[in-house]
């Protein structure tokens, strides 16, 4: 007996070794449960961060727009409207008023990491007889490329557009029959026309976006859209994407401009994420409950089997509290051992899964997060669950009347 080990530890481990079969079975059961939790948690968090990235890589977290224009009908002296019918105004393309000042003000705010001015509007690309409607976005590469992962999606050329450059999607390039270095005419509804050189081709992995988006330099877009010196919107990223909505509301209050967070514009995506998280929580809860019931039932049986030994221990000077701790410790150890084995099993399943779930090109279907903290939480959680499950059997053991127990 190691002198460093407390009495309760020695008793608990001996009892568990004595009931080897029971211990192995319950540790196996807990391990299976924990492996399911580890596997599903990693899968779902991988799935979520994947979805999350797909959403946020191509979308600013907050977009600041000029306030909508409203119709102001004439009123009489008593503030009564004189018009019978008030039509809402058409929203023309306008600049964010004094956007440079707004940008500087935003950059001073806590949590704001990037502010990129953007000019965007509708236009056509024209080459010979072919033309396609596109959304053109004028960007300042130095700020915009920090905001959106455009760089990663460039398959030819570079994302650094200058005033005579244009970035097109791979589908649009195919439709127009153009390649890197070719010229393309861009015309907007407001009458601006420019002939630009293709300096980069991107692939967003989405046909619609690849067909309809083009990027030009900020100033080119300003002149094409007749918005000289202006910016149709400011796009903002913040340190914590989930605080975007609160920050957007702050911005709206401070500037009087319209600020839309990605959370508000992707409400459905968010409710899907929440539903996934909820189902994950429910699975964890029931697996945890099953493990707890298993541990409790094994210990209840053990208390009955060992009632004579417990009585003997009590007669030879072991206190109720010590008996209580011996059984709580057994529950904790079963939980801990189960979680360690289960974490390894879960890790094994994940590795296997990564080998099986692949795209046609051999890349993983989606990246699974191996968060080492997940293993730590599983171990801590299972130990806690084991201890809680042991409370009832341990109390039973501690309350055994030694005189009765020894008589049997």
């Amino acid at each position: 007996m190691n002198p460093l080990l407390p009495f309760e530890w020695i008793m608990a481990t001996r009892f568990m070794r004595e009931g080897r079969m029971q211990t192995l079975l319950i540790v196996g059961g807990v391990a299976l449960g924990v492996s399911v939790i580890v596997f599903i948690s990693a899968l779902i968090s991988g799935l979520q961060s994947n979805l999350f990235r797909r959403t946020l890589d191509f979308q600013a977290q907050i977009i600041i727009l000029p306030p909508e224009e409203v119709a102001r009908p004439l009123r009489d002296a008593n503030a009564r409207q004189t018009a019978i019918l008030v039509q809402p105004r058409a929203q023309r393309l306008r600049s964010v008023d004094q956007w440079q000042k707004v940008r500087d003000q935003l950059l001073k705010m806590k949590n704001v990491t990037v502010v990129a001015p953007v000019v965007s509007g509708a236009g056509f690309v024209i080459r010979a007889d072919a033309n396609r409607a596109v959304t053109l976005t004028g960007i300042e590469p130095e700020s915009y490329l920090r905001l959106i992962a455009l760089k990663d999606k460039i398959i030819a050329g570079s994302a650094n557009v200058t005033s005579s450059d244009i970035l097109v999607g791979i589908e649009l390039a195919k439709d127009m029959g153009v390649a890197m270095g070719d010229k393309l005419t861009l015309r907007t509804a407001s009458g601006g026309t420019a002939t630009l050189i293709i300096s980069g081709i991107f692939d967003f992995g989405n046909k619609g976006q690849n067909q309809r988006s083009v990027y030009v330099s900020f100033r080119t877009a300003q002149s094409l859209l007749n918005l000289t010196g202006g910016a149709s919107s400011l796009e903002v990223n913040v340190a914590d994407p989930f605080s975007a909505e609160t920050i957007a509301q702050d911005i709206q209050a401070q500037t009087g401009l319209k600020a839309e967070s990605w959370i508000a514009t992707n409400a459905q995506f968010f409710s899907a994420l929440a539903a996934q998280s909820m189902s994950n929580t429910i699975i964890r809860f029931f697996v945890g409950l099953t493990a707890a019931l298993g541990i409790a039932s094994v210990l209840v049986v053990s208390v009955v089997q060992k009632s004579k030994e417990i009585g003997l221990l009590r007669a030879t000077g072991t206190s109720r509290r010590q008996i209580l701790r011996i059984f709580l410790l057994q529950g904790a150890l079963m939980g801990l051992m189960g979680s360690l084995v289960g974490s390894l099993m879960g890790w094994g399943f994940l590795t296997l899964w990564r080998g099986i779930a692949k795209n046609a090109d051999g890349t993983p279907l989606f990246v699974i997060n191996f968060d080492p903290m997940l293993f730590f939480y599983a171990a801590a959680g299972a130990t806690l669950v084991g201890t809680l499950a042991a409370i009832f059997p341990a109390l039973r053991a501690a309350r055994l009347d030694p005189a009765v127990a020894i008589r049997g």
């Binding site: 007996m1 002198p3 407390p6 221990l313 030879t316 206190s319 020894i406």
Partner: protein
């Protein structure tokens, strides 16, 4: 109370024990037991089945509470003590030897002897191992010290139990049919061992037994009948001759 208190290991005053109090099935098994055991006594508690021997032993061993009456262990009153204090008093002053299931099967003979000290101290140490080894040696089981208790014979198990009962140096050892499970030869040698320990250490022994032959070899024979002490005799022949005689048996019948 002629003797000073430290010479008295155990004092019982008017011990009553009733079960099922307040129910129609209420039954009183002990009807006012008075008893004094002096230090170093080697006493037998005999009586027919159902006479309350085991109940009395459990009360003396602080495993059960009397319904009424007072119990003093080495002069200390026990009425007001809480469970934890009773446990500590039991651990330091009382050793138990039972008929069956004396030892924990998952532990070796030596570890079983260490157990009471281990529980009291909270963790093992070298001193307790040494003390346990000494006792194992005294009961003649050194070659079996590292054997699991299940691998020992009945007599050997009872010897281990005696060693364990003595490991805390208690004032009183309570033995409940310690030889009830053994053949005559083993029973004799276990009995002799208890006798030796009593002589060497001066530990008080109270032995519940059905075996009149063994009772006759004790210094004092207390007979319990229907929850009352029916006779309490000093077994003078043993003191004189150190062996059992037919005369003692005749005394007890009267």
């Amino acid at each position: 109370m002629v003797e000073p208190d430290d010479a008295i290991t155990l004092r019982l005053e008017g011990i009553h024990k009733a079960y099922g109090v307040g129910t129609p099935a209420e039954i009183e098994v002990l009807h006012g037991v008075d008893l004094i055991l002096k230090r170093g006594e080697f006493a037998a508690l005999i009586g027919p089945s159902g006479s309350g021997k085991s109940t009395l032993l459990n009360i003396i061993g602080l495993l059960d509470q009397p319904s009424a009456g007072k119990l003093f262990i080495t002069g200390q009153p026990t009425e007001q003590l809480k469970d934890l204090e009773l446990t500590h008093l039991r651990a330091s002053e009382i050793g138990f030897i039972f008929q069956f299931h004396n030892l924990l099967p998952a532990f070796t003979a030596l570890e079983n002897v260490m157990l009471p000290r281990l529980a009291a101290l909270g963790h093992p140490d070298e001193a307790m191992r040494k003390r346990a080894a000494e006792l194992i040696d005294k009961v003649g089981l050194t070659p079996w010290a590292e054997h699991k208790s299940n691998d020992l014979s009945g007599g050997q198990q009872q010897r281990v139990a005696i060693a364990r009962a003595l490991v805390m140096n208690p004032a009183l050892v309570l033995a409940d049919e310690p030889t009830g499970n053994l053949d005559t030869k083993s029973a004799d040698s276990v009995f002799d061992l208890m006798r030796d320990m009593n002589k060497i250490n001066g530990t008080t022994f109270l032995i519940v037994t059905h075996d009149r032959r063994l009772a006759q070899r004790c210094d004092r024979i207390i007979e319990l009948v229907d929850g009352r002490i029916a006779s309490d005799k000093v077994n003078s022949n043993v003191l004189k001759n150190g062996d059992d005689t037919t005369q003692v048996a005749d005394d007890m019948v009267t």
